[in-house]
Amino acid sequence: MTTALINIKSEQEKVKEAIKAQGLRVLVCAGTGCVANGSLKVIEKFKELGVNVRPMTQQDKVTIVPTGCHGFCEQGVLVVIPELDVTYVKVHVEDVEEIVESHIKNGKPVERLLYVDPKTHKHVFRNEEINFYAKQTRTTLANCGEINAESLDEALAVRAYEALHKVLEQNNPEAVIEEIEKSGLRGRGGGGFPTGKKWRFTAANRGGKSYVVCNGDEGDPGAFMDRSVMEGDPHKLLEGMAIAGFAIGADEAYIYVRAEYPLAIHRLKVAIAEAEQRGYLGQNIMGSDFSFTIHIKEGAGAFVCGEETALIASIEGERGMPRPKPPFPANKGLFGRPTLINNVETLANVSTIILKGAEWFSSMGTERSKGTKTFALTGEVNNTGLIEVPMGTTLREIVFDIGGGIRNGKKFKAVQIGGPSGGCLTEEHLDLPMDYDNLIAAGAMVGSGGLVVMNEDTCIVEVARFFMNFTQNESCGKCVPCREGTKNMLKILERIVRGEGKMEDLDTIEELALAVKDGSLCGLGKTAPNPVLSTLKYFKNEYIAHIKDKKCPAGVCTAMKTITIDPELCKGCTKCARTCPVGAIEGTIKNPHKIDQNKCIKCGACMNSCPFKAIKQS
């Protein structure tokens, strides 16, 4: 069978030599976040200066490597020079010259561009010592930020396609499935279904045309792990897909990527073209009998297309609406054929499992959730960004160690985990090992791994309203419970934050939430009530405060704010009256002013304008 497989080791040696010849490698993050912060200009500037560089290091040459996302997006643009053991943060184009002159040429680090630890207030040099990275275990994201994502050579140097080579050499699809099963890998897209099982179900229909579909329709607000993999290490994904194709007997695949990810689409296209051209994908891969073609399908931005059956409908050119299961895609999927559909992060784990073995993978994590998981850490923590930790890491470690604690010394209140379909976790869950089953039991879910940290200034009812508004807008409109149920839950939540809620609303919304959870057609509807149910469970008092006392304990809900002017402090300067957009402030010069509460829209403009801090909100 394996007529003449290429020698992958010698290929690797070749590219490693080539990379060594690059000299001093300056890794500049060119992920979407850093690009937005101007990294392309930084790269240009480095290149411009790099031509004349005669570094004081052992290297006689400098190579600027635009890499994928490093994860620490809020500190972008990130510049890492591994050989000099340094990570620069918040680099602007104006700083480049100083880095080159001072550090690269003269060996003197630029201190002001180093990360400052929020706790110790000390400068930190190395990546590994930055608290954000210290507790992470980066396997899926291992190469993101280390290699030039648009170069197959750089990918090969970090063992890309070695796992596929191994699989083709052994030529035993069944063994591949067994290995994945043994690893305990579960779907990273939200459901947590055992990946090996899914592969086995699809492989059972081997014989005719089968497809592999990669779900890259990452829609949860704030989540960007799939994007980072596609942008930072596309070959890892492509290799995972090819291995999956080999295991289930498919020769064609689709990657469904949101059109809002132009960089990911670009890098995938570059990667596919290069891999096909050099025989790592396409016909007779690496000299074997196995052929595998990958297409890219751009999604049009519907959240629901992340649901696998809606995604399949969308690839087929139909309206992206979920189809009832059964039949499952494994039996009847894309174009009516058996289809394996996995998410980006799941597939990105495959090659490492094949290379390092199922035991290595299952040594990480908890009993029923193995390996690592990426989370998009956002909200009121000091360090935000993309992180990867072993399953079972506690919320406390993520928020207080990796995240560096709550911003501005505020108090931790809750996290929303799993995106709009997830749920709220509170202080009592801080030491809960986070894995699929524990989170479900707590009324939340891993989901795609969005993690929004909230402090004491967050109104929990408003949070529930926000997410309900999202799911309502993104419901495909097919099934009644989701379409009409989310609308009516939203209406009730809107009433409550407006201060017009009634106590019976709490019973109605809970009953409705349960019926929507039970009765909806697809995962979107089944999980849409989670934010309501979990906040009702842990923060019922806050709902009651809104309804009974007409008070928003966090002081967020505008409808319940009262803005008043302290007559003792007001000097009658009239500034506030001139600022008020609705003319709600009356008063004469040098006399205390007064706010007409019927006219006031609670915008707070007057408070900001008052030079005497006489205007207060309660």
Partner: protein, 592 residues
């Protein structure tokens, strides 16, 4: 019993056997239980959107039974607290977003939402009700269909019917979330898209979101006008469906009662479209023999179905030469009545005759308004009522339909053959035509008049083909129902792979028995089969079973028309077609 294909599952503690039922819902029905549903229609793909048919399956949780494949050993509960909570919530949510002006709704009494709301005792409307500002305009631009988005529950049955039956997708979904709507492409009016007026969307609609533009009042006005002579014709398939409105069995032939009811209502003369179906066969069989002899414009397309004619005129105007120039049976009888009645019936003039036609069809209403079917500035057919509208008319007249003594049609345009009667089922026209064409070519009669391969109106019989030997000449007949199937035939012709000489097309699945104007039958696909059986039963029992042997037809040719294809026959019975341009129906000459 011991068939290996027979498996068992349990519904509410009762064991039930199943073999090839397409879904759990059908097995539940077989067990003697019913589950409510809005979006499940046996002849359409399963959709699973309304969530009314949810059941609880042990070990599997909640599943929609319409989409769940039956499996041996399943333990199913159809009526648990959990499923009742879901169904009740669905109903409450739908009602909150529904125009609840039931009393004036066309569907009142036959609305499935109304029925389930009553069954589930929905009294407490706990959700915020649809606000005045959220009401959307009603689209009444289409000549036969009225679309009221405020009554739409988005079950998608119409969308599927249009796409799956007619391959046409005139209706589709727009927007997301609670803003989702069913609407014609790009938000156009129903008059500005390629609707063929088949009415299937309306036939599968569970609520009043799609209804027929009723002409009942117009009919009463004519009947009550002493200066008008109202003469009536009714299509073959009306007689096997109207009884359902009055609690009689589908397929029961009530033609005698229809004649009687019409006279009770007060019309002047009662004829029968079956008669002109025979006339159509005489002309069409003759036309076919002519074309076959000359070898031109083959295959011949039948032209009885106005939705099909409309489809060709708008989508394939280059194929119009294939279409038979014969008017439809409705189109033939009206000018014959207006031309010939004044010659034999005193007091009848061209001007005072009003032809009232009762059809299983919504497209017939539009056919009647074709410019090509006008004479002396007037339409040949004046009013077209659907079976449903006619049923309502009888009810409002206070007639005990079931108790009526059967009567006979008036002479001389009421007698018909078995060939005329089977027009109502897909394949019937072709079968009838072959019976007569055989005689025209050979001067002999077919030994067996039953051409079984052309029969069948179920889901699997939408495309049928048979080859007959007419004295050494092989003639292949293709019979299709639904325009989706018709389109396949057109593509075959365009590719040059078509091997048939006659193409019979009916736009409604199964033919006129399942027409868009028939009483509701979308929840039970066997109803149309029973109706078709009723037609074939009458055919079998009639003395005369070939159009050319119908004595009334023979007399008509002898006294007036001379022979098929004659000059007068052409003047009265044939028509022309033209390119009606895609995307607009502004070209029909009048509004209903």
């Amino acid at each position: 019993m011991n068939d290996v294909n027979t498996k068992k599952l349990t519904v509410n503690g009762k064991e039930v056997e199943f073999t090839n039922e397409p879904n759990l819902l059908e097995v539940i029905k077989k067990a003697g239980f019913s589950v409510p549903t809005f979006c499940y229609r046996p002849d359409l793909t399963q959709y699973g959107a309304c969530r009314m048919c949810v059941v609880e399956i042990e070990g599997r949780g909640i599943q929609s039974s319409c989409t769940m494949p039956p499996e041996a050993g399943l333990i199913v509960h159809t009526n648990t607290a959990r499923v009742r909570r879901i169904r009740k919530t669905v109903l409450e949510l739908l009602l909150a977003n529904h125009d609840r002006e039931c009393t004036t709704c066309e569907k009142s009494g036959s609305c499935e939402l109304q029925q389930y709301a009553e069954e589930y005792g929905i009294k407490n409307l706990k959700y915020a009700q649809k606000a005045e500002k959220d009401y959307l305009p009603i689209d009444d631009t289409n000549p036969v269909l009225i679309r009221d988005p405020n009554k739409c529950i988005l079950c998608g049955a119409c969308v599927r019917a249009c796409a799956e039956f007619q391959g046409h997708a005139v209706l589709g979904f727009a927007n997301r979330g609670s803003k989702t709507l069913v609407q014609p492409m790009a938000g156009k009016h129903l008059s500005d898209v390629d609707c063929v007026f088949c009415g299937q969307c309306q036939a599968v609609c569970p609520t009043g979101a799609l209804t027929i533009n009723s002409e009942v009042e117009k009919a009463w006005k004519m009947i009550n006008n002493p200066d008008k002579k109202v003469v009536v014709q009714m299509a073959p398939s009306v007689r096997v469906a109207l009884g359902e409105v009055f609690g009689l069995k589908p397929g029961e032939n009530v033609i005698g009662k229809i004649y009687a009811a019409l006279r009770e209502i007060g019309v002047d003369l009662v004829f029968d479209t079956n008669f002109s179906a025979d006339l159509t066969i005489m002309e069409e069989a003759n036309e076919f023999v002519q074309r076959l002899t000359k070898g031109e414009n083959l295959p011949l397309f039948t032209s009885c179905c106005p939705a099909w004619v409309r489809y060709l005129e708008t989508q394939h105007p280059d194929m119009l030469n294939h279409l038979s120039s014969c008017k439809s049976p409705q189109g033939m009888l009206s000018p014959v009545l207006k031309e010939l009645l004044p010659k034999t019936f005193p007091g009848y003039t061209k001007d005072n005759i009003v032809v009232l036609s009762i059809m299983p069809c919504t497209a017939k209403k539009v056919e009647a308004k074709r410019v090509e079917l006008m004479k002396d500035g007037k339409f040949e057919t004046d009013i077209v009522l659907t079976t449903k509208e006619f049923g309502r008319m009888i009810k409002s007249a206070g007639i005990d339909f079931a108790a009526l003594e059967p009567q006979k049609a008036d002479s001389p345009f009421g007698g018909y053959s078995g060939a005329g009667t089977i027009f109502g089922a897909s394949g019937g026209v072709a079968e009838a035509a072959v019976r007569t064409a055989y005689n025209m070519v050979t001067d002999e009669e077919l030994t067996s008049l039953d051409i079984k391969p052309m029969r069948g109106v179920d889901k699997n019989s939408r495309s049928k083909q048979a080859t007959l030997d007419i004295k050494g000449i092989p003639v292949t007949v293709r019979v299709v129902s639904t325009l989706k199937e018709a389109e396949k035939c057109i593509q075959e012709i365009k590719k040059g792979t078509a091997e048939f000489q006659i193409l019979e097309v009916m736009a409604c699945p199964g033919g006129c028995v399942n027409g868009g104007g028939q009483p509701t039958s979308c929840n039970d696909s066997s109803i149309k089969e029973e109706r078709a059986e009723g037609l074939y039963l009458e055919d079998a029992n009639l003395q005369v079973r070939c159009s050319h042997k119908n004595p009334d037809i023979q007399r008509l040719y002898k006294e007036h028309l001379d022979k098929p294809g004659s000059h007068l026959a052409h003047q009265l019975l044939h028509t022309t077609y033209s390119d009606k341009k895609k995307g607009s129906y502004k070209d029909f000459s009048g509004c209903v």
